[in-house]
Symmetry: D2
Subunit: 96 residues, 4 copies
């Protein structure tokens, strides 16, 4: 980023970026707008996911259990296996 | 939901969905895979957002302040104005 | 809330609360200090919980599994039973 | 941690800890019960904090602004000052 005076009308044409108070305005604006756009897309995706769970519920599925299933699928099968064995062991130890 | 075998090619046309243990398997699989795909896209977006903030930091911007700015831009200007006035009032009341 | 001047020593005894800019200062201060104290206690509790999990880990327990166990214990046994049955069913339906 | 009889009166005194399936049962139970107790206390504190904010709202305060104030009070004054200066600068740069 080149740096230079930014008093109105004084910027030479080769100056690639306007600054206000030492702030590279276009760069800052670009950063903010890109973040806002991505956050908006992320919100839309969260909405879509919510819709699918609502669809699952209407179709008679148990949404909490589907969430457990998705969480299991993120783990390695060996990790799932080991944790289930341990959970079983701990439950029996506690008489649950 | 009709019940029946779903071996490749053997489903009679009127049989809309295979079930295992009373579960509409294709429907369940579709729900889970769509959620997983959307969650994956959401994770990718979060990574992109993180990258932009890293870029902002490298460019010399204060990332916390950019976050505050983005949060302000989500509110109505009148709401921002009112909260800033109140915050100022409360701070002066407390001698902060 | 009564309104009135609060210049040092000038408050008549019947004035229940000092105000600055229309703000009931003592009330505001009390609210903020109580919240801060409770938040501090809450942070301390979170630290204690973390310490216990560290102790559990040192003692050879699997902390993730202990968390699962604690989460199970929060639910009604009938709910746990039903969710486990469904999870099993869904997993078999998906061939997991 | 030596602990006394486990099976009704039948544990020999040299048995330091009852185990079920290799699990130190009393230790596990102690860990879980302590975590549950602390989590319960933490939930109670969260409830108390919520009550204070409800009280603040009834007393005519703006709860969001009180939260901002509490968040400001957690930071060093110099940090608050610097962030406010930067926020102001960024806003002016963007014409906000």
């Amino acid at each position: 980023m080149s740096r230079g005076t930014n008093k109105a009308g004084l910027d030479p044409p080769q100056q690639p970026e306007a600054e206000v108070g030492g702030i590279a305005v276009d760069r800052l604006r670009s950063i903010i707008e890109r973040v806002e756009r991505l956050e908006e897309e992320r919100r839309a995706l969260s909405g879509d996911i919510k819709d699918i769970f609502a669809e699952a519920k209407s179709a008679g599925f148990d949404v909490k259990v589907i969430r457990q299933l998705i969480s299991l699928r993120k783990k390695e099968p060996a990790e799932v296996e080991e944790q289930e064995t341990l959970l079983d062991l701990y439950r029996r130890a506690l008489g649950m």
